[in-house]
């Protein structure tokens, strides 16, 4: 089992969600985050005083997937979240040691 963590641009959330449903992903967790990579920030202005905004709003999606689905998930997210412009985001894959469904107590790949 793998945990796929995706950082994407906020307006891409609907596209990514649809793409994940299409490859068979049945659940995900979404959180609003801030961050930067090579996109860097920009300067803004408030009542004549400049300030630098380093951190840009992003959306973080976490999906737990069975190993067999991993490649399709990566491809689906990569295509759906892509705009071609800097700041599109990243996908991190980590190994899941255990997964538990709270309601029934199922564990392992059935619980994903």
């Amino acid at each position: 089992m793998k945990l796929v963590t995706c950082i994407i641009k906020p307006f891409k959330l609907d596209d990514v969600r649809e793409a994940l449903s299409e490859v068979g992903v049945q659940g995900m967790t979404v959180i609003e985050v801030k961050g930067f990579g090579r996109q860097k920030g920009h300067t803004e202005l408030y009542r004549g005083a400049e300030y630098v905004v380093d951190f840009l709003p992003k959306i973080k999606i976490e999906v737990a997937v069975d190993d067999g689905l991993l490649e399709q998930v990566i491809e689906a997210v990569s295509k759906a979240a892509n705009t071609g412009k800097v700041g599109d985001g990243k996908i991190f894959v980590t190994t899941l040691d255990e997964v538990v469904r709270i309601r029934t107590g199922e564990t392992g790949p059935e619980a994903v």
Binding site: L45, Y46, R47, G48, A49, E50, Y51
Partner: protein, 412 residues
């Protein structure tokens, strides 16, 4: 004849009461504007300051302020007394006065009390986000019960400034510049917000939490200002006066609109951004500018006077930041700097105005209010301190002083 007197007395009294109610509505206007321009962690505190200062003003003016301003003083010495047991004119007195008494005494109190509340609320924005609540309320007691009434007496109570020919129709000086002077004294003693100014002249913006509220606040103030200027004509019940009031409404609206556009354009030219908060300050600046004389200008002049106010306020806000006077809402610039402009602009359209008398009024009101306020703030500072501690300021004064978060669902 008696029927006409009865009717015109009622009309003029009603006019005072309705205009007073409009000006009262400026209190939530200020509350919304200020809560929109401070951070969410300091919002409940500024709301508490606003509701409490209005109440303190209402009570202190009743207890002694109104009487200081309007009973039998002369020259530089105001009278004294209380309005707590005020009585009104009898029917016989009114009919016998041949038109001299033309409105209810209580309506006069009501109309005036909302003006002192306006002056006091100017201060709450300037000292926002770092002042102790009760230090502010203690100052409010003295400001509304004494400082404002004394200088108000010198002009509207028939005192020395009035005798010298100083003109101030609805209060660019008596209300707005007075409030700004008290605010300036407080801000100087208080110091800037943590993190506002860095080394080497760096100015860090501290962004307001709620632009819709700030905008709503300004529109409400604009609306209430029709009562502020319109009511200050004091009469409406004949053709000439009705026309005058109508022109005042038109000029007031024109000046506000011109001030807003001027500030918007100025901000765009200076910063390449059409800063909403500057536009909002511009509308208020236009209103303050016309308040000293909204009757004698043509709408064309009102446009110009308001527009110049809108330009001045942008430069004033930037300048105050450069000398490290931290004013989160721009109150000192809107009401003080532009208040001065408004008082001088009277000379443009009112033939009875003289530069000398206007300057005298400006200097006297400013000096009195600033100096006495400085003393009172200093006393309060010595007795209880006026600034919250560093850790309190970091956490937010809502949690510390009020115990009620303004946006509890959105922590931080």
């Amino acid at each position: 004849m008696e029927a006409v007197t009865q009717l015109s007395y009622s009309v003029d009294t009603l006019y005072f009461l309705l205009c007073g109610a409009l000006v009262m509505f400026m209190a939530p206007g200020f509350a919304m504007l200020e809560s929109g321009l401070v951070r969410s962690k300091n919002t409940s505190e500024i709301l508490t300051k606003n509701v409490a200062l209005f109440s303190i003003a209402s009570l202190m003016y009743l207890i002694c302020g109104y009487s200081i301003m309007y009973s039998d003083g002369s020259g530089w010495i105001p009278g004294f007394g209380t309005a707590l047991w005020m009585t009104d004119h009898s029917v016989e007195d009114v009919l016998a006065s041949n038109g001299d008494i033309y409105y209810s005494g209580a309506s006069d109190f009501f109309f005036q009390v909302v003006f002192v509340a306006t002056a006091m609320s100017i201060i709450s924005g300037a000292v926002a986000e770092r002042m102790k609540l009760f230090a502010f309320l203690a100052f409010a007691v003295v400001m509304t019960g004494f400082i404002y009434p004394v200088q108000g007496f010198w002009k509207w109570g028939g005192g020395a400034l009035d005798e010298a020919g100083f003109l101030d129709f609805a209060g660019s000086g008596v209300v707005h510049m007075c409030g700004a002077a008290a605010a300036l004294a407080g801000v100087i003693l208080l110091g800037p917000r943590m993190g506002k100014y860095g080394k080497d002249g760096v100015i860090n913006p501290i962004v307001g939490a709620n632009m819709p509220l700030a905008t709503l606040g300004v529109f409400i103030l604009w609306f209430g200002w029709f009562g502020f200027n319109g009511g200050s004509e004091l009469v409406v019940s004949n053709i000439e006066e009705a026309n005058a009031v109508a022109l005042i409404f038109v000029n007031t609206n024109t000046a506000a609109a011109a001030g807003l556009i001027a500030a918007l354009v100025t901000a765009k030219l200076m910063f390449k951004k059409s800063d909403l908060t500057m536009a909002l300050n511009g509308a208020l600046a236009g209103l303050v500018a016309i308040t000293a004389e909204p009757l004698t200008p043509s709408p064309a002049w009102a446009l110009l006077i308001g527009a110049i106010g809108g330009v001045i306020v942008v430069f004033s806000i930037i300048a105050l930041d450069k000398v490290r006077i931290d004013d989160p809402v721009g109150a000192i610039s809107v009401h003080g700097t532009v208040g001065v402009w408004g008082l001088l602009a009277v000379c443009i359209t009112n033939p009875d105005a003289t530069i000398g008398a206007q300057i005298m009024g400006i200097v006297v009101i400013f000096a009195w209010t600033f100096v006495v306020s400085l003393v009172v703030w200093s006393v309060i500072k010595m007795m209880m301190g006026i600034r919250v501690s560093e850790s309190e300021e970091q956490e937010g004064v809502d949690i510390v002083d009020i115990g009620v978060a303004a946006y509890p669902e959105f922590t931080k």
